[in-house]
Amino acid sequence: MSNPYVPYPARIDRITIENDARDLKTFEVVFLDPEHARLFRHVPGQFAELSILGTGECPIGIASSPTEEGSLLFTVKKTGRVTDDLHRSREGRVIGVRGPLGNGFPMERMRGKNLVIVGGGFAFTTLRALIQYVLDEGRRADYGDVTVLYGARSPGELLYKAELDRWRTRDDLTAHITVDVGDDDWSGHEGFVPAILGDVAPSPANAVAVLCGPPVMIKFTLPVVERLGFTAADTILSLEMRMKCGVGKCGRCNIGSKYVCLDGPVFTREELSRLPAEY
């Protein structure tokens, strides 16, 4: 059995600055060893520990779908020591990747269902993986209607602008993009995610809702989701927690009898209701 603490070296091939504030960057990384690439089979919703030797590690959701082969995408916000260091990278730099970690979205359970995908701010990253996966040519037929609602503070803060444009033109997906405050060029929705969700009012019939966002967005969106009729078992969230080992040993992400890095970060609302409210 391989050592779960050893990161595999990967080269940063491309860095995309995602937002006007320039504190969100997407790193496209490629494993140096093709064997490591082959072994890294992930599911949307999983994360990896990005490792910078000498500085540390940070847990980052995988923004690319496993169907987008050849590289992995990680969208990282600059918040602390490790992410700072990462942001100072140039293309070509080699970092370490440990993973895939966590449980991912329950893709099997979601087959045949309509998907209502709701994201806010930079928590949208793993939802990109989910959406690209579902839209993949060989898989689209496995899922019903796909409704995406994504909100950010302003147009400049939206992630994946190129994908958003492409999604808007597709007829097998309905994308509602909203900003808190628009600008002169903005033609999408204007308003907070919970409010727009209430307006769009997707049907809960044979549907699953997937939510990723900052705590304040989740706090106000969950009641809307509930009001629309989605059951707790069909409401899926991704939790953020302080993590270190990523493999359920160090105890840092422990909530109740669960480890967010092992049993999560994806939980249904029903599972969360059985956990102590300390996250």
Binding site: M1, P4, L53, G54, T55, R242, G248, R252, P276, E278
Partner: protein
Amino acid sequence: MNVRMLDKLDLPSLLERLAETRRLIAPVVDRTGARFAPIEDVASVRWDYRNTSLSAKGIVFPQTEPLLAFRNGEAEERIPETPSTVLFGVRPCDARSLTLLDAVFRGNGIDDPYYAARRGAITVVALACNEPGPTCFCTSVGGSPGDESGADVLATDLGGGVLLRAVTDRGDALLCDLDVGRPAEDGEIEAARENAAQAAARMAPVQVPTDSSRLLNAFGLNLWSDVAAGCIGCGACTYSCPTCHCFDITDEQKRGTGRRVRSWDTCAFPLFTLHGSGHNPRPAADARLRQRVLHKFSYCPENFGQAFCVGCGRCVDHCPTGIDIRRILARLDEVLATDSEVG
């Protein structure tokens, strides 16, 4: 399985032979009190100690453990080279704690190679207790002064001699390999059992809530801020505890060369759950003490089938402000039993 009787006078030469053929770790006594140390001079081994100030967990899970070494961007794992070791004279509570640590570090389908290397190299010769310590409560948490779990050999001091009972194949092999003493007589085996039973009888029982899912209902109770009023948020309880196992991972480097190490950490520290955003899911001592207690008596039983407490009493001895887990457990047990609103 072998059960052997060794004359006390022959104990030093047994220790000598152990120290010659293996790495011997045994209790010594110094300014700190008793502690485990690698033995070079067997005369320093103290067989007559009550218990060590810190638990034995540091032998398989050291306070500081390098995980990776790196140079110029390339990392190598640093699995510890562990010679064949005998952990001699550890109390049954500490021996039992090794089985609990095994469940964490070697469970969930992921084997921690650093722990595995150290753990796999040791043969545990536990020493049964002839009397309980003032804060001991192993019998209230599924253990006992003569408990065999975690031990490869269980020794009992019978005064003139030491009874050594093989518990596992590994322990049996050790006793055969060293041809220790002579076969024990039935009376001696019985005396050892009596010793342990008497020690158990003299231990004050502690009320411990054993229904781990009902205990989860204690999460929302008001008593935590009262119970945690004196908690100053240090790691004295956690670090002296045989079963606490949380750790931090940090990097150190100097001009391109460095290492990634793990070190003990504790949920009692405010920084433990502090997010980069400033949000802290456990902002005050009441939530943190609650986590420690419920983790040991509710969450771990749910995951591993046993409470993560062996009743050694060290946390009670060492807490600078006198917080006593025995009192907390008794209070929880009472509240859960009488409060009909609680689950």
